[in-house]
């Protein structure tokens, strides 16, 4: 498992790098609006407008990228934290699990964006 991951490292790291960039630029804003401001009632969201925004081809792309890439970034970082605390023995298993999660999330993201 580890050997396979090693072969794929360049892609994984590329996804990770992209994920960090996208995550850093976009995620805080999403969390702020959807997770804090809206539920608190500070602002009211216009669902229709949001829907239109998301359906726009560019909107779909942004949605997908913001979902999929940070998943990889998060998975990769978590894996390294495990390693830093002595998790090398479980790296094959844990890494595979985390990346599979990210893969699954990305696939579901595609589906979700498709279904918009």
């Amino acid at each position: 498992m580890r050997a396979l991951m090693l072969k794929l490292e360049p892609i994984i790291w590329g996804l990770f790098g992209g994920g960090m960039f996208v995550g850093a630029l976009l995620l805080p804003a999403f969390v702020l609006v959807l997770g804090v401001l809206a539920p608190l009632g500070v602002v009211t969201l216009d669902t229709g407008a949001l829907f239109a925004l998301a359906r726009h081809p560019l909107g779909r792309l942004v949605c997908l990228v913001t979902i999929a890439l940070p998943l990889w970034a998060g998975a990769h970082q978590l894996r390294h934290i495990f390693l830093d605390f002595g998790g090398l023995r479980y790296d094959g298993f844990l890494g595979a699990l985390l990346y599979l999660l990210a893969l699954l999330g990305s696939a579901l993201g595609i589906v979700a964006v498709w279904n918009l």
Partner: protein, 146 residues
């Protein structure tokens, strides 16, 4: 000194030397020393992205499922636990973003063709400004202001 242990085979040569050695210690004060702390905070913070993005996936999915599903989801976000998590995620991720941009410049080549990498300070400031701008933009877009 650190309470963690280094692997006993850290930095061992492929063949043992002729005399017994004392085991390696892990880096002193790991992870409590300042830089290690921010490194860990950064790592943990960006691991949060796993959860935040998963939630975003739910949001997008609910949008596709129709207005009701979306509203229901938003309503569930009002739960104090959820709120707390999102608040924490917002603060933490913003810090991660700022830290990330500080670490970013030197990951780039010094030069691409004839173009030199701009001075680090400029790049960092630029990227952080970009972060602010994009946060404002996305917020505005989501709120339908634009």
């Amino acid at each position: 000194m650190s309470t963690l242990r280094a692997r006993l085979d850290a930095m061992r040569p492929s063949q043992a030397g002729p005399t017994r050695t004392a085991d390696p210690r892990p880096p002193d004060h790991f992870p409590s020393r300042g830089n290690y702390r921010s490194y860990l905070m950064f790592g943990l913070g960006s691991s949060l992205m796993l959860l935040v993005s998963a939630n975003l996936l739910r949001v997008v999915k609910s949008l596709g499922d129709g207005e009701r599903a979306f509203d229901a989801l938003l309503e569930s976000f009002a739960h104090p636990l959820y709120l707390g998590f999102h608040l924490l995620a917002f603060v933490w991720l913003s810090w991660v973003a700022l830290h990330f941009f500080a670490l970013f410049p030197k990951t780039q080549p010094f030069r691409i063709g004839p173009f030199k990498r701009p001075p680090d300070a400029l790049l960092v400031t630029g990227l952080r400004a970009l972060f602010l701008l994009s946060t404002l933009l996305v917020t505005a877009l989501l709120l339908g202001v634009l």
